[in-house]
């Protein structure tokens, strides 16, 4: 396992409709602000374990951890521009995706 550097959240896509989801305190959330944040390697491993089980039971696909920083208000924001895009929607269509519903 790679060394743990930053807090992490777990992303996935809903198998049935393809929307991006985040593992929350009690199941999948469609808003990243409700994502459960792993603050150490053990917590990240726990997220991954749940993710693998959810993948195996055909609820989600494309499951992976991504590094975040915690904003002052406690919201986790991805560090990489790719995942920044995924929590919002296309930058060229602000009327579509999660950003359109105020996420």
């Amino acid at each position: 396992m790679a060394a743990f550097k930053n807090p992490q959240i777990l992303l996935a896509s809903d198998l049935r409709d393809g929307e991006v989801m985040f593992l929350g305190a009690s199941g999948w959330e469609r808003d990243h602000r409700r994502a459960r944040v792993a603050l150490d390697a053990a917590a990240a491993a726990e997220l991954e374990k749940i993710g693998h089980a959810e993948y195996a039971s055909n609820h989600v696909v494309d499951v992976y951890l991504t590094d975040v920083e915690i904003e002052p208000d406690g919201v986790p924001t991805p560090l990489h521009y790719r995942e920044k895009m995924r929590i919002k929607g296309p930058s060229v269509r602000r009327d579509l995706g999660k950003q359109a519903t105020g996420a």
């Binding site: 393809g18 991006v20 055909n58 521009y81 269509r93 579509l96």
Partner: protein
Amino acid sequence: MSVHDLSAAARPNAPTTTYRYDEFDADFVRERVAEFREQVRRRLEGSLTEDEFRPFRLMNGLYLQLHAYMLRVAIPYGTLTARQMRCLADIADRWDRGYGHFTTRQNLQYNWPKLIDTPDILDALADVEMHAIQTSGNCIRNVTADHFAGVAADEIEDPRATAEFLRQWSSLHPEFSFLPRKFKIAVTGATHDRAAILAHDIGLRILKNDAGDIGYQVMVGGGLGRSPFIGKIIRDFLPRADLLAYLEAIMRVYNRYGRRDNKYKARIKILVHEKGIEAIRDAVEKEFASMDRSVFSHDPEEFTRIAAYFAPPPYESLPAVSATLRAARNDNPALDNFVAVNVSPHREPGYAIVTVSLKPIGGIPGDATSAQMRTLADASERFGFGELRVSHEQNIILPHVKQDDLPALWRILDAAGLATANAGLISDIISCPGLDYCSLATARSIPIAQEISKRFSDMSRQRRIGKLGVKISGCINACGHHHIGAIGILGLEKKGQESYQITLGGDPTFSAAIGEIVGPGVGAEQVPDVIEHLVDFYLAEREEKETFIDTWRRVGHARFKDALRREGEDGAYI
């Protein structure tokens, strides 16, 4: 009954000059939808894992992207009827977000479908003789063709009959559906290549030999992506009767010997490159010679049956030049510019080919709203025998418009935001969806295209610059054809930031060339500046009637590079 009797052409929604399904085609497509519906059901209940399901959903055009699934609908050889275009609009409204994206492979992509809705979408497509078969996956993909097929003045034969013949042969092929990698075939029947056939796994150029027989020059091993190659000639003249047998031989050699150890080396271009074209030719000819050819004995009559569908529509006899149009152009400079830039000569006197640009200034290249799709469907029925084309430049073509009707057509297009007079100009940018949608992308493409387009928003300046192909890809897979853009832009990730590498001198035509890199990558905000410097240098250097690529070839890459260095502060730009 003749395929194009006048009563049928006059009927609303009547397709005229393109292939129509018979009962067997229709049954086949319905059975494919039923099969996919069952595959989705088995995926949801767990009979298929994601790793098992993926190749099968891809072979039906369904991807999982950054925000949602994406469905790629096949538009064989880029030809659509008005009825089909309306269906695409209806699907966009009912199951997607009211728009679609026309691609460089003459297909259409929906960016927001749900997996559970996809079988219903496919059924709706089947209602209008459409499908998503083999628009992705490691199989023979949608066969593309010259978008001016059947109407171009420089054409030997309409390539669409060949493309349809190949579409049927390659559909659900028992032997060639699990190839080392994807396989793309393009056909042209003209003396100018508008289908970029040298950038395809197989390129077919229709030729007439000295005896007057029609056949094919066969090119193999072209392709873009991580290692771009220009196709090489494997057969100078292949008689038509041997087409399927010969392609089967190529496919068998590729299926058996193409590399499967590394997906970046799995295309046939790498096999051709590593073994040499002579070795591949020997292997193909040996296989071809050993085949039982009796199974192909009915190919010529089947080809003739298919070709009959592509007969010309019932044109009127018209004078070569329209006085109505001439007068209207004199009165209306915007119309005049539109005709000068977006209208091409038609082989039939009094008719014209109209390119409808899907590249409004600052817009998203290739996107069309459902309303725009309906406007185009209506316009095609009113002015163009109900037929439309999709070009690999991501524009829509109305292939048979009377010159007399151009003013009225222009007014309708203008009102719908579809009259941008930039076909072939610097703002007619090819762009893949990039990181705004695509899960493979390493950087965004669309915003770069938008910024360049805005920078050159002055249309008279664009016309002064002349023909110039700018092509942008958001990753090394090169869906935006950056390698063959006179100016190519490739988006990469560099130190956690989006970075853009610029190439010059690419050419998609028979004089095909891969662009050369100008220097290290630049940030997104610098790209328009760099392009502007390059264009200004070209304008300063060009001789009479030279296009950008002409000047670049004459002056040389080094001087373009130097120009950037001098223009920037201590080489800061490049």
